[in-house]
């Protein structure tokens, strides 16, 4: 199979003669009578327009196909062509910076056919004319193994594309081209394979079946945080490179904004953004903003490290399902080059609904809420493809998966949220009430959790501050006590509480306003450096600690609330830029000054 997968990515070699005829068409589901055996998962072409489809069932002489394009106009008696290949993607230089639909058709290339997506339009995923400067890293006669770097190509100004020996290929390099300009269709090397002794030609690209995870050498413990520049995540519910996170939330709670924020600021080498069954205007926004916005590390346009997959809600439903697999396979491919890749899927619920819709057409026995019984298994398989690994070539790389979930009615008890919860280790619960109060990010800190706290803690302590975990736990305690008190406040009012309890409420309020809230549209605060995150949290907790002392001395709460420095702390996130962290020392000094003054006032009185 690998042999076939490694051949030229240009033409799809669907057989010229049909292998069967359609007998039944309803929406994306087609039944066909086929002469010779087709296999489960095989990519097919249907009708005279050769619509792309996949075999999702075979029995006797009949094949059940799911078609990834509009089937209107297709009827019984039309030809069906086999490709002999499972559903695959083409992997090679040129992926980064591209926008694909769910079945990896480059959307910019489809523009030639007009502003609308028309059926049967074909375009190769990678530009086959473009010449890349290939620098070989191996010499003829050398032994090569799967996943080793055969040569490199500068794909964008920030991404060095490592042309790898495809998985499952090893042997002796019979020939390799000299450094120079080549297209993805040109043969750049031939290898004499160990197992078979046959010679096989390699290009800079190869194909890979989307449903099959790409192999790696070994799994590593995810212990390096994926810094996102968003305080609620980095400080409170951290994600690790190679980890998994779910962002469930009702409409308008901030799933997309959060995923855009992570795409813009997360410390990943490559971003794969899958817009799965969501809005066209959101894709337009990304395409407007990403080429303009600079990556915080490289200062180069974000688009130079981004692969976009856009299968919007009005595009064919079945291709929504494919878009997730296309995305994760591309992510694994860059992982294999030794990169840290972050994949966003917005929204996995639309993908689950695509499964449901096709399952419904097949009249399968539904499980919960009409979803097929295999929903949980599919979700598990998807999130299992995340990981921090040692690659076949000996490098380390990671795929981090962040999936948005859109529960019906915003109710997390529905099946997609529940199953996703089982297979992801971070749960970032978005809250309708917080979003309605325009409290952003609307993460419910009581319902959310991270399973990576212990792992990434070591990294923080080594790299930044040994107090990371202690500060975080102290802040969480404050929030939790506050929420316990809020239940009482609802019954008797805040004024009825003793002062030390009111101070907890005050402290929690300050923590939320000054630290947890973070406006994605604020030019400064949209991204917060780890050092600044710690400084900010430190300042808030310092304020709370000092306030405790003065309140114990009898200072009334309202004096604490009205302190000028309190307002300064709240504004610090937006007023103090990432590169002027010295100003936090000044802030701490002013906290002390004002607290000291208040302390003196009341010591004199008592």
């Amino acid at each position: 199979m690998a042999g076939e997968l490694s051949t030229s990515p240009g033409a799809r070699e669907a057989q010229r003669k049909p292998v069967g005829r359609t007998v039944w068409v309803s929406g994306p589901v087609v039944k066909a009578e086929v002469e010779h055996s087709v296999f489960m998962g095989e990519q097919m072409e249907v009708g005279d327009e050769r619509l792309i489809g996949e075999v999702i069932g075979v029995s006797g002489g009949q094949a059940l196909l799911q078609v990834y394009e509009e089937t209107e106009g297709l009827g019984p008696g039309r030809p069906v062509f086999s490709t002999g290949l499972p559903m695959f993607v083409t992997l090679g230089p040129g992926l980064v910076g591209s926008v694909f639909d769910g079945i990896q058709r480059p959307l910019h290339a489809l523009e030639k056919a007009g502003p609308y997506i028309s059926r049967g339009t074909k375009a190769t995923p990678l530009d086959t004319e473009k010449r890349w400067h290939f620098v070989p890293r191996k010499r003829a006669g050398e032994k090569i193994g799967a996943g080793e770097v055969l040569g490199i190509v500068q794909e964008t100004s920030v991404i060095e594309h490592r042309v790898l020996v495809p998985p499952e290929v090893s042997g002796e390099l019979a020939s390799v081209v000299p450094e120079g300009e080549y297209t993805v269709a040109d043969v750049v090397a031939t290898v004499r394979r160990h197992e078979t002794g046959e010679e096989m030609s390699l290009t800079m690209a190869h194909r890979w079946p989307v449903k099959r995870p790409r192999p790696y050498h070994s799994h590593l413990r995810p212990e390096v945080p994926l810094i996102t520049g968003q305080r609620i995540f980095d400080l409170f519910f951290p994600l690790a490179k190679g980890g998994t996170a779910a962002i469930p939330g009702g409409f308008g709670t901030g799933k997309t904004v959060t995923q855009h924020q992570l795409s813009k600021w997360a410390m990943a080498d490559i971003i794969v953004f899958v817009g799965c069954g969501e809005r066209g205007n959101e894709m337009a926004e990304v395409l407007l903003v990403f080429p303009e916005l600079a990556d915080p590390r490289t200062k180069r346009p974000l688009m130079e490290k981004t692969v976009l997959i856009g299968n919007t809600s009005n595009m064919p439903v079945a291709a929504r399902e494919a878009s997730i697999y296309t995305g994760i396979t591309i992510a694994e491919y860059y992982r294999d080059m030794g990169y840290d890749v972050a994949l966003m899927a917005d929204s996995t619920s639309r993908w689950a609904e695509a499964l449901r819709e096709v399952s419904g057409r097949l009249e399968e026995m539904p499980a919960e809420e009409g979803f097929p019984a295999y929903l949980a298994a599919r979700l598990a398989q998807f999130y299992e493809r995340a990981g921090y690994v040692e690659t076949l070539g000996g490098a380390t790389g990671s795929v981090t998966v962040i999936g948005a979930v859109s529960p019906a009615g915003g109710d997390f008890s529905e099946p997609v949220t529940q199953h996703t919860k089982r297979f992801t280790r971070c749960f970032w619960a978005l809250d309708k009430d917080l979003a309605a109060a325009r409290y952003f990010p609307a993460i419910n800190y009581l319902e959310s959790y991270s399973g990576y706290l212990d792992e990434v803690g070591e990294w923080w302590h080594r790299k930044y501050d040994a107090r990371w975990r202690a500060l975080r736990d102290e802040a969480m305690r404050l929030l939790q006590e506050d929420s316990r008190l809020q239940r009482i406040v609802r019954l008797i009012g805040e004024d009825a509480l003793p002062d030390e309890q009111r101070l907890i409420i005050e402290g929690s309020r300050l923590l939320q306003e000054a630290c947890l809230q973070q406006n994605a549209n604020d030019p400064v605060d949209t991204f917060c450096q780890p050092e600044k995150q710690l400084a900010l949290l430190g300042a808030v907790l310092h304020f709370v600690k000092r306030a405790e002392e003065v309140v114990k001395k009898g200072a009334p709460i309202h004096r604490v609330r009205e302190m000028a420095v309190r307002e300064e702390i709240v504004r610090a996130k937006e007023k103090i830029p990432n590169d002027q962290l010295d100003r936090f020392k000044e802030l701490t000094r002013r906290i002390d000054e004002e607290m000291d003054a208040l302390y003196r006032d009341f010591r004199r009185v008592t």
């Binding site: 926008v99 959307l107 502003p115 997506i117 539904p366």
Partner: protein, 459 residues
């Protein structure tokens, strides 16, 4: 392709609900348009739902009443459902298929187009950022509609959404824009009274010339409702992307549409999902709502204001819920405001235009717009909290500052949100009125507007 020409007669197997099943048809295709001709000679349009070598299922618009298997004939038309599109359709009223309903001549269309349209290539979209004025302050000032956006109105039974719909249809405009402006009004499942009211209101305003109306009456068959908005969008796409016009499409009532979809789905025996609605309700709604937008390199735009009534005032009901998951924000009408006689009863707090921030400001609306609306929003949010407090402890117990907010709230609701159904406010009037409201709260609280703005607008 081989096709049996003309009428196809034999083998009509059964009729059930809106569906007709027949056997032995050849050369047909999925989604193809058909004409079903009953014993009385009446021609009913329909569509192929299952194209099969054995049994073909047809969906018959205008219902199957009176059809008997023995007498019914079917003509296959070899294309999808097509409707006429022409600029001359502005100023006229049509049924769901584009037939004249106003006694005038049938449209002289140069072109017929498939009602389902085709998905815009997302990479070809232009990001919407230009202002569309409705003349309604709570929308223009606080939840600005942007050309190419889809912004629904969430209403409930008994609330004046029809009046608001008519007002928007009459007043909408794109200030300072040379390209033509048109409104398409799709009325789904309305009583004849309501439909007449809409027509009269548009006629009397003199705006009729730029409005095309598509009407599906409450007593028309349910499956026809599935066509009405599609016909409207087909004309909208032609006007916007072929003729370069800015088009606003108002659809009311999407709840009627969704209920028709449920009815048709259950007649087909499909497995229902939440509340009996089919599992593909999201995709189906998206196939309508996503027809809003702009296209790179083309002048026009399609903006959508779908109106729906939330069953039981429940925003988590699948219809508003799935709508909210597709549209770019929502305008929420509130019963409490309506009871207090505020028209339009828009609660600006749960309302949100997600594209507003990029579509307002200098050169679009006015430079002070963002800060002003922010300040009004936070002052009103505070007012609502104070009101709850006042309900517990009594208004007299409130501080002087909080009493000022109560007054602000009252005036904001009656004078800013509230306006006459005939009152058309320019964006400048709306914003100036907003500043008037801000005079009612303590100056020290005006932290969201800048010093310069204060100096310029509060004097």
């Amino acid at each position: 392709m081989m096709r049996e020409s003309g009428l196809f007669q034999c083998g009509l197997k059964s009729v059930s609900g809106a569906l007709v099943f027949l056997e032995g048809a050849r050369g047909i295709s999925y989604g193809e348009m058909v004409e079903v001709i009953g014993g009385d000679g009446r021609v009913r349009p329909g569509r192929v739902l299952i194209a099969s070598r054995e049994t073909v299922a047809l969906e018959v618009y205008q219902g199957t009443e009176g059809l008997s298997p023995a007498e019914t004939r079917v003509r296959f038309l070899a294309h999808g459902l097509e409707v006429p599109v022409a600029e001359e359709m502005l100023g006229r009223t049509f049924d769901s298929f584009g037939h004249a309903l106003d006694g005038g001549p049938e449209p002289l269309a140069r072109e017929w187009r498939d009602v389902n349209g085709a998905a815009i290539n997302p990479a070809m979209r232009a990001y919407p950022r230009d202002f569309l004025q409705t003349g309604v302050s709570a929308i223009d000032g606080m939840n600005t509609l942007v050309r190419g956006q889809k912004l629904p109105i969430f209403s409930a039974s008994g609330l004046p959404h029809n009046r608001l719909a008519a007002q928007i249809v009459r007043q909408a405009e794109v200030p300072g824009e040379r390209a033509g402006f048109a409104v398409i009004f799709a009325i789904v499942g309305a009583s004849r009274d309501v439909a007449d009211m809409f027509r009269r209101s548009v006629e009397e305003s003199g705006a009729l010339g730029r409005v095309a109306m598509f009407v599906n009456f409450a007593d028309d068959p349910a499956v026809e409702r599935l066509i009405t908005p599609r016909t409207a969008f087909t004309l909208a796409e032609y006007l916007a992307f072929d003729r370069g016009m800015h088009v606003l499409v108002v659809v009311t009532d999407m709840t009627q549409y969704c209920e028709a979809l449920r009815e048709v789905a259950s007649a087909k025996g499909e497995v229902p999902s939440r509340k009996g609605f089919p599992g593909y309700l999201y995709s189906d709604l998206a196939s309508l709502y996503e027809r809003a937008g702009r296209i790179r390199g083309r002048e026009g735009s399609i903006t959508q204001v779908p109106i729906l009534t939330m069953p039981n005032d429940d925003i988590t009901h699948p219809i508003p819920d799935l709508t909210g998951y597709i549209t770019e924000g929502q305008i929420v009408l509130e019963r409490e405001l309506d009871r207090a006689d505020i028209y339009p009863p828009i609660n600006v707090l749960p309302s949100l235009s997600r594209l507003m921030s990029d579509g307002i400001g200098a050169g679009r609306t006015r430079d002070d717009h963002a800060h002003l609306s922010n300040q009004l929003y936070s002052a009103y949010a505070y007012t609502r909290r104070i009101r709850m407090l006042a309900a517990i402890i009594g208004e007299e117990e409130l501080s002087g500052r909080d009493k000022m907010y109560l007054e602000f709230g009252r005036r904001f609701e009656t004078e800013f949100v509230g306006q006459g159904p005939e009152e058309n406010r320019s964006i400048a009037q709306t914003l100036d009125r907003g500043w008037e409201m801000l005079k009612l709260i303590p100056a020290a609280d005006l932290t969201r507007v800048s010093e310069q703005e204060l100096a310029a607008h509060l004097k």
